[in-house]
């Protein structure tokens, strides 16, 4: 079939590239000042501007969950968020979960339950699970599965991921 769309010009409908915009993000407790283009996603800002490559780019379309981070305590897909729209936000990535030299209970549980094979989806799985535990809506394994469905694992480690999250929920409940 014929291509029906014109190839967009590099600067779209603009006569000049827009100026970069200053954005302040507090990432894992550290304040960062960035100069980003309007179209820089939060994911690209984290990986390419702040060198925090723990957050993964999988599909880049919000379908796989590998880019999941916590923004102001809520889990979101960082690939579908513009950095300029998160000015002033608190961001937590996989690099920010361990505290005082100890792994986060979810990180420990993922190791103990062998909840991954290749590991590419794991940072997103763990950040998503941290969001899930904070939400407090999942009580049963059915509910964990349902509320983790935005994180795809192509190695198929799902049973172990659910077991790891259940363990971490228990550990975090006991601590609080």
């Amino acid at each position: 079939m014929a291509r029906t769309s014109k190839v967009p010009s590099p600067i779209g409908g603009l006569t000049q590239p827009p100026a970069k915009i200053e954005v302040t993000l507090t990432v894992n407790g550290v304040e960062a000042h960035l100069q980003v283009a309007p179209w820089t996603t939060l994911l690209d800002a984290l990986r390419d501007h702040l060198d925090l490559t723990g957050t993964k780019k999988g599909c880049d379309h919000g379908q796989c969950g590998a880019c999941t981070v916590l923004v102001d305590g809520r889990r979101i897909n960082s690939c579908l968020t513009l950095a300029v729209m998160k000015d002033g936000a608190q961001v937590t990535t996989i690099e920010g979960l361990a505290a005082n030299g100890a792994l986060h209970p979810l990180q420990q549980a993922f190791i103990e339950h062998d909840a991954f094979q290749c590991g590419y989806c794991t940072p997103g799985q763990i950040c998503s699970a941290a969001g899930l535990i904070a939400e407090g809506k999942a009580k049963t394994s059915d509910e964990i599965r349902e509320l983790m469905s935005g994180n795809i694992c192509r190695c198929g480690a799902y049973p172990n991921i659910v077991a790891a999250i259940e363990q971490a929920m228990g550990v975090m409940r006991d601590r609080s």
Binding site: A2, R75, N77, L82, L132, G150
Partner: protein, 338 residues
Amino acid sequence: MINFEYARASSVADAVRQIAMAPGAKFIAGGTNLIDLMKEDVERPTRLIDITALPLKAVEEMSDGSLRIGALVPNTDLAYHPLIQQRYPLLSSAILAGASQQLRNMASTGGNLLQRTRCPYFYDVVTPCNKREPGTGCSARNGLNRMHAILGTSEACIATHPSDMCVALAALEAKVHVLGPAGERAIPFAEFHRLPGDTPQIDSNLRRDEIVTAVELPSPGFADNYTYLKIRDRQSYAFALVSVAVGLELSGGVVREARLALGGVAHKPWRDPAAEATLRGQTPNETNFKRVADTLLREAKGYPYNAFKIELARRALVRALTQAAQGTPQSQSNKKIL
């Protein structure tokens, strides 16, 4: 994604002013659909107007018993809001049946209404698509149309509206409050989205220079007898093949009021008030449910790969009516269909 300018709106009036001044501009809130479409070069706004700071985040009880939901209330907050869970559990259930928790955390109430079809040809800019580029033809009619519409289609377009939330809002007869240069107006939900006809590039009757400010839910919530039944290829995080929202009011062993809306079958959430009316005064039993399903689907038309949806919709309607009548709504975590 083409390059674009970024601006923030400081008030709802400012947002309306800004969009009127910039013909290539679009509003952005959650961004879950718009940014994806921009990455695919389907949407190419030259300016994004960020409306996330606007004061449209409240769920308010009105004196007439209705509920007013701000356009920027995130889908998650709405689904778990105590008033929604108590009075409109159908809406809560439908929201939780859609997308993933990450996307629901981002997506706004107004944006959910305005999300675009997930027809693969609409997304694929190298194929003809009348919705994306009017006049180029519809690739889906003779293509892979397994996910496509069976009701209200046209020669030009057989795309479906992808929302689950909107199916419940249609059944609940919500109203959409909008603001434009000419002032405010309220659009009944049945008139918000439109059928494709020969202008499938237009999804809704919201004008380009208007902004959604709120969704209003009238008082009847059908909290005792409701269900949202969604049939899909995988058990979670997939668009509906067919979904059914049901709200029933029962008393004295008969149906007093019936609301039925179908998702995944048309360019808009599908309502047929005439079919619903045939249930009034009737006993809620399988014979009557089959009859109303037949009436509702009388004009359904299948394409090469989606004709199965007609029988699927018929059975889903009967099952959903049964769930609602029995007061056993579909669970959105345990996916067993009872």
